[in-house]
Amino acid sequence: MVQTNGRGKTDSLIRARGLDKTYRRGGEEIHVLRNLNLDVDRGDFVAFMGPSGSGKSTLLNLLGGLDVPTEGSITVAGDELTRMSGGRLTEWRARHVGFIFQMYNLIPVLTAFQNVELPLLMTNLSKAERRKHVETALGVVGLSDRMNHYPRQLSGGQEQRVAIARAIVADPTFLLCDEPTGDLDRKSADEIMLLIDRLVREHGKTVLMVTHDPIVADLADTTLHLEKGLLVESRESQGARAGGAA
């Protein structure tokens, strides 16, 4: 259950307290996030919405360990991110976070298989084990027959599915999706959302997603609205838990 009042359970998967993020541009201080509290439980599917510059992506970056808050703390599965060094944070990301980007961000000179294998290259898995994991991940996203294709040989929807396979191949604790359907047509967007929804419902994944699309956001269990760095509204989805994406 998602909570934003700072009174969540102590065993929440993700626990953010008093998050503040300030940038300095020229001589001016820009407050991107202000005193934000958030508790997310394992298996939750949370969507963040809000106008551009409201702090959605910054929040996602902080929760994913890509950036550090100016103030406040973030604890994920018992690990306090704000106390970790850069190197430890990288290792932590490899173990706990799967990233799905708007522009897919696949390496164009690598095949789908090689792209999905990338996160496993930093592990101690043998080549055979890596292959097994990659094949499983590509199977989950329905691209077993495209594993030797290069990104340029795939459609946008297929590229994003490869990116999803890359995000789940190391079995991370949670997935961070930054506008995963922002570059796709409606049909492909629906397919991708069905897939993400399946990851939550069938595989128990925790997903935090930034989106501008209310239809997409409606699939999440909870939609949080941000404005000028503040969480202004929290809304439970009616249909998601009951009927899923279909």
């Binding site: 990233f99 290259l121 930093m122």
Partner: protein
């Protein structure tokens, strides 16, 4: 090894650029090898230097232009520390055309082999030479250059000693240098044949070569020789053969400095070209590297990826360039003939040094963009995708 696929794919991302970068490495390393061997050919080093340290060259005080009387020979031989003494006269003749330059020297047959043990002539050929007043011995390089073989008659025109006249020589033998890269360009003939064809009053030698009992005594013996003839009409100037050769080569200009300067310019040009190429390649992929870091690649593994790419280019280009040099330098040496003082020899040490240079350039050119990639902020870089 796990990154091999990624490195390989990145290398072949832009094939033309890869070919051009490897090409620039290959050309630079070829130049490096070529300049190194030319520099060696123009400097007195290694075996030649060691051999030269055991010999003194005694010239007239004014230098090679001032011949010395034959009578100095016995006086020098009496000086303690002198083991043997040889003589040489510069002939300066023309074989067929003026382009065919090679050193022709009138030598003392009695002591030549004792003074120059590293220049090897088969005994039977040497015996024929000693017996033949018009006999000659040619260095293997010169014999090969003109296609001479033992038994050939070699006419050499000369106008330095009186009216122009063609001297006829019988090629009795061919010498080889026991030292790698040693001089195999000389053409020797008997001093007696030379002397008897000059005016009766000559009996002069161009310079003396003194073989020392102990190379460590070179300075003392040289001073003793010069003191022996001080205040005479034929004063001498003595020094080690190595110093004499070095001074002689200096007259050709400071070849070593020119070679080193060109080498340094090539090195830095290569460094800037490859550094710029690597930096460009990393800049183009900054978003991809940011993704790698986001999904768990450590800073060190990103640096390692970039370094391995640049080192791969350096090794491939270096091996190509040095391989080409290995094939081409013997051919170039043949083509240059006696324009260079010694044959161009590409030694293993030059190959190793070349590879080390390639690796240093590869490492430095990959290190700077690699460090930039390592230090980039993932969030900032991802915004550029």
């Amino acid at each position: 090894m796990k990154f091999r696929g990624l490195i390989f794919a990145n290398l072949f991302r832009k094939k033309l650029r890869l070919v051009l970068t490897i090409g620039s490495f290959a050309v630079a390393l070829f130049l490096f090898a070529f300049l190194s061997v030319v520099k060696s050919a123009f400097s007195v080093t290694g075996g030649a230097q060691a051999a030269g340290a055991g010999r003194l060259i005694v010239t007239g005080r004014a230098g090679l232009i001032q011949p010395l009387p034959f009578s100095h020979r016995e006086k020098i031989l009496r000086i303690p520390g002198v083991q043997a003494i040889g003589t040489k006269n510069w002939f300066g003749g023309i074989y067929q055309t003026e382009k065919n330059v090679f050193p022709q020297l009138a030598v003392d047959v009695d002591t030549q082999r004792q003074v120059y043990p590293e220049l090897v002539v088969p005994d039977s050929e040497w015996q024929n030479f000693v017996k033949d007043r018009q006999g000659a011995i040619a260095g293997a390089a010169t014999a090969k250059r003109f296609g001479w073989k033992v038994g050939d008659r070699i006419p050499i025109k000369n106008s330095l000693y009186g009216p122009t006249k063609t001297w006829e020589f019988n090629l009795d033998g061919i010498y080889h240098s026991a030292i790698e890269g040693g001089d195999e360009s000389q053409f020797w003939f008997q001093w007696k044949y030379f002397d008897e064809n000059l005016a009766a009053t000559e009996h002069k030698v161009g310079w003396y070569i003194v073989k020392l009992e102990d190379p460590g005594e070179a300075d003392r013996v040289a001073k003793a020789i010069d003191a022996e003839f001080a205040n005479s009409s034929d004063e001498t100037k003595s020094g080690t053969e190595s110093a004499f050769q070095a001074n002689f080569l200096k007259q050709l200009g400071n070849i070593e400095l020119i070679m080193v300067t060109i080498g340094v310019v090539v090195f830095f040009t290569l460094l800037f070209v490859t550094g710029n190429t690597m930096a460009m390649s990393v800049r183009e992929r900054i978003g991809e590297l940011a993704v790698l870091k986001a999904i768990g690649f450590t800073d060190r593994s990103v640096l390692s990826l970039v370094l391995q790419e640049s080192l791969s280019i350096a090794i491939i280009g270096g091996v190509l360039g040095l391989g080409l040099a290995r094939l081409a330098i013997p051919l170039m040496s043949k083509a240059l003939g006696t324009i260079v003082p010694r044959a161009l020899v590409l030694s293993p040490s030059v190959l190793v040094l070349g590879l080390v240079v390639a690796l240093i350039v590869g490492a430095v050119s990959g290190f700077v963009p690699g460090m930039n990639a390592m230090g980039m902020r993932v969030v900032t870089a991802l915004r550029r995708v």
